[in-house]
Each structure stands twice: as structure tokens, then as C-alpha cells.
């Protein structure tokens, strides 16, 4: 017999995303809470798994084969060891919930692909995509070294930028945009940078001008 029900069924649907996460962490066996969690986040989890799979070199056509198991793996990761992972959630916004689930989905896919590749190695089988990777022309060490020196110069120039109120932030934005290839819109979703797209464009313009002058 149930001793105590902390939240009634009706209020479960009214919970904010981060509240739902917390309640699930508190009560790992509450079916109503987990039904709601499943209904609300299952689609997002699948989306994050798909994107992680594609980003890590997976073929979209093969995703159907893994989706169900990987989604289960995300849920398992959340609740295993008495819910250690879900209890570590500290966010207070909807975005923080998505970021948390996204990072778990990413780690699940990375683990699974690592496992699959290890199996393939053990079987002495080389996948075609890996073969293509090996066949790709490698940049010679001289080019790499030159690029590294350029980057060191860029870092120095940006760190010494007297016009900037926050040179470290600008340097990170520079690297996210020019090294990692994130668009301005994508960078604007990083809340800790606290910049709109127009603010980011201004930063990048200033950085560009500064580099043109310095380098």
C-alpha cells in the first residue's frame, strides 16, 4: 500500500520541466511522474540521440535500428544507482532540462558507438566509413604548425584587446565561431555568454577589425 503520494495526478501535468525532473529524482518509482516525463521528453530524447548519432558519423538510415534501445539506455542512465545521475540535476529552467538530457543522450551515443567500433576491431573488420577516413588526405605537419602559430597570435592579440570589456569571452566566441564553426545564431543559444545575435555580430566584427590591425 502506498504510504504517501506527494503530488496528485492532476498537478503532475502542471509541473514545469525542471520541477518534473526534480520530482522524478525524488521518487524514482512514481509511475505518474515517469509517465509524464516519458510523454514530455521522449520525443526530445529521440531527437538528441538522432543528432548525436549523425554528428558522430552515424548514417540516418540506421538510426531506427538503435533508437529504441538507446532511448531506454538514457532512461536507465538517469535512474541507475538509485538515480545518482538524475539527482545531480541542478537546473531551474526548461533549457537546463534539455541541456541535461542532451548531454546524456550524447554520452549514450558516444558510448554505444565506441562499443560497436571496439567489437568491429576485435572482429578485424574495418568499416567503409573508417576506411574513407583513413584515406582522407592528411594535412602535413608544416601546415598544422603554421595554423597553430596563427592561432597563438590571434589569442595574444585578443587577450590584449584594450577595447574589449571581456577579452576572454570574446576569445571564446572567436574560437566557437571560427574554429568550431558555430553560427552566430547557435552561439547566441549559449546562455552564459548572455549575448543576442546582434551583440555577437558586434563582438565578431570588433574581433575581426582588431585582428586585421594587429596581424
Amino acid at each position: 500500500m502506498k504510504q504517501e503520494v506527494s503530488i496528485d495526478v492532476r498537478s503532475v501535468t502542471d509541473l514545469e520541466a525542471h520541477e518534473l525532473m526534480r520530482e522524478c529524482a525524488k521518487d524514482l518509482r512514481n509511475a505518474d511522474l515517469w509517465e509524464e516525463f516519458h510523454a514530455r521528453f521522449r520525443r526530445k530524447i529521440n531527437l538528441y540521440l538522432l543528432r548525436a548519432f549523425r554528428a558522430l558519423g552515424g548514417n540516418s538510415d540506421e538510426f531506427d535500428r538503435y533508437a529504441e534501445d538507446w532511448a531506454q539506455e538514457v532512461f536507465t542512465k538517469l535512474v541507475q544507482n538509485e538515480g545518482r545521475v538524475i539527482a545531480s540535476f541542478r537546473g531551474s529552467t526548461e533549457l537546463s532540462v534539455y541541456a541535461f538530457l542532451g548531454s546524456i543522450a550524447l554520452s549514450v551515443v558516444a558510448d554505444q558507438l565506441r562499443f560497436q567500433r571496439a567489437l568491429r576491431r576485435r572482429a578485424q573488420v574495418v568499416a567503409l566509413d573508417q576506411l574513407q577516413d583513413f584515406g582522407m588526405p592528411q594535412r602535413d605537419s608544416e601546415t598544422k604548425f603554421s595554423a597553430l602559430l596563427d592561432l597563438i597570435d590571434v589569442e595574444r592579440a585578443l587577450r590584449e584587446d584594450e577595447e574589449s570589456k571581456n577579452p576572454e569571452r570574446d576569445l571564446l566566441i572567436f574560437k566557437l565561431h571560427f574554429v568550431e564553426g558555430l553560427s552566430v545564431r547557435e552561439i547566441s543559444t549559449i546562455r552564459e555568454l548572455n549575448l543576442t545575435t546582434s551583440g555577437l555580430e558586434k563582438v565578431l566584427n570588433r574581433v575581426r577589425n582588431r585582428l586585421v590591425r594587429k596581424l
Binding site: 554528428a55 531506427d64 529504441e68 537546463s96 542532451g102 550524447l106 547557435e186
Partner: protein, 275 residues
């Protein structure tokens, strides 16, 4: 990493993270990957894959701990060949029943236009099959708008899909906001320009009619043979009182589409004007 993304860090943690991300290529790469994974926009390809996965997914996995019943005993008693035949027949029946009986759960089914409902907007949306126009300015929402909206959000609908949904529920301000967003993302989409024009035109604000004309002309600049935009441009001209332009555009429309239900509406209108 997720804390850095969602502004969940204390001041000193943020500064530490920022410094670390500048130096550590691996963590920065992971952050970039996470940003891309969390992107709110869902591409049509992703949407199709997700729908496929959702459709294929069994609803629940239950484990039976009861002793074998009649069903199990029956299965144990028949030969392997018969088992195969029974399994195959069952699969065929289940698949057929699923297709016939189960409600579908995708965006086009939530959208009322997909359900073959009555058309309450005189204008023509992109990819809209013809249905008879019922003229009313106080048309009730076709379906349950708030719950449908939630469902669309849950399914990860993009601004274009959300905009069309609101439009078909006569929520024009919300439709315009969503479709403007969609237009920013895809400025060269003929369909978005057309539907945004419809949202402006049906919002019943006089100055929005000019905006509607602008959108229809933009759609026709992108594709001069886009029938819905010609149809809608003629309608907009009619509502602006520019009857000669409207007649010209309707005549042009009939050259492009002489036989459909839309064409019949145009013919009736032109006939009416002659009397």
C-alpha cells in the same frame, strides 16, 4: 557543460568554464556539438525520421510472470511450420489493423486542413487541397486549438507548421509571428511568403492588406507560376477595391488552372462581377 549552456553556473564557475573552454579543444568541441544537438529547429529530414521511429516503437514492454496459459499451451503443442504460419498471419493482421484503426500522431494530422475539413479562409494556402469555402468571420476554431498547440510543440513543429496551424484556427496575430520567424529562417520559400500573405490578408486590418500584397508579389518573384499566390494576389486586389487588377489576376489564374475547384470559385466570382 549543460550548466554553461543554460546559464546555471555561479560567477566563479562561469569564469573557470570560460577559461577552460578557451584552452581545451575537446571540451570546446563537445560544447559545440551540444549546441547543435539542442538546436530548437527541427529539420524536415529529422522530423521524418522521428515520426518513423515513433510509429515503429511498441507502446510498452511488459514481462509476464504468470504460468503458461491456454495461448502458450496451444503454441507449445503445434509444430514449427504451423507456428511460422500463425506468426506470419498474426503480423499481417496486426499491421493491417494498426493502419486502419490507430490514430496517427504526426503534425499534418493535428493540422485541421489535413482532415478534409471545411475551408473557413477564402484565400488559398500552400499545398492546400480544395474544399468548399464557407464564408464566416466568426468561424469557430476547427478542432481544439490549445491542446493541438501543445501537441505540435511536443512533436517539435517548426515555425512554418506552427504558423499554418494558428492560421487555420483563425489566430492571425500568432500565425503572423510564427510565419515571420519562418520567413527569416527561409527567406526564399515561396510557400512561407504565400502563407504569410494569407495571414496578413485574413487578419482583417486594412494596412495589413498592403503587407499581404507584398508577400504575394514576393512569392511570385520567387516563382512566377505559383498558382496559390496568383489566386491570393487577385483576392487581395479585390479587397483593396482594385477590381481591374483583381480581374486581370483572376483571368491569369484561370489560364494556369482552368478546371479545379479553385478555378470554379474564380469563375463564379467573375460571373458575379459581370452582373
Amino acid at each position: 557543460m549543460s550548466g554553461f549552456l543554460s546559464a546555471g553556473l555561479a560567477e566563479d564557475e562561469r569564469a573557470y568554464c570560460q577559461r577552460h573552454l578557451i584552452e581545451c579543444e575537446d571540451c570546446r568541441g563537445e560544447l559545440a556539438l551540444l549546441v547543435r544537438i539542442l538546436d530548437e529547429e527541427v529539420s524536415p529530414v529529422e522530423l521524418a525520421i522521428l515520426n518513423r521511429v515513433e510509429t515503429a516503437r511498441p507502446e510498452r514492454h511488459t514481462v509476464s510472470v504468470q504460468p503458461p496459459g491456454l495461448y502458450e499451451r496451444f503454441f507449445q503443442s503445434i509444430t514449427a511450420g504451423w507456428k511460422l504460419a500463425v506468426v506470419a498471419t498474426t503480423i499481417i493482421l496486426v499491421v493491417t489493423a494498426t493502419f486502419i484503426l490507430l490514430p496517427k500522431n504526426n503534425i499534418s494530422d493535428i493540422s485541421p486542413q489535413g482532415a478534409g475539413s471545411v475551408r473557413t479562409l477564402e484565400a488559398r494556402l500552400s499545398s492546400q487541397p480544395y474544399s468548399q469555402f464557407v464564408q464566416t468571420r466568426t468561424a469557430p476554431a476547427v478542432g481544439n486549438a490549445p491542446s493541438g498547440t501543445d501537441e505540435l510543440k511536443r512533436l517539435g513543429a517548426n515555425p512554418f507548421e506552427m504558423g499554418r496551424f494558428y492560421l487555420l484556427h483563425n489566430e492571425f496575430a500568432k500565425a503572423i509571428a510564427q510565419l515571420e520567424d519562418a520567413k527569416k529562417q527561409e527567406p526564399n520559400s515561396v510557400e512561407i511568403s504565400n502563407d504569410l500573405g494569407v495571414a496578413y490578408m485574413e487578419s482583417a486590418l486594412d494596412d495589413n492588406l498592403d503587407k499581404a500584397v507584398g508577400q504575394f508579389k514576393e512569392a511570385l518573384r520567387l516563382n512566377p507560376k505559383y498558382e496559390p499566390a496568383v489566386f491570393n494576389l487577385a483576392l487581395a486586389s479585390e479587397r483593396l477595391g482594385h477590381f481591374s487588377e483583381a480581374e486581370e489576376d483572376f483571368s491569369l489564374y484561370l489560364q494556369m488552372d482552368p478546371d479545379s475547384g479553385w478555378a470554379n470559385e474564380v469563375k463564379s466570382k467573375l460571373q458575379l462581377w459581370k452582373h
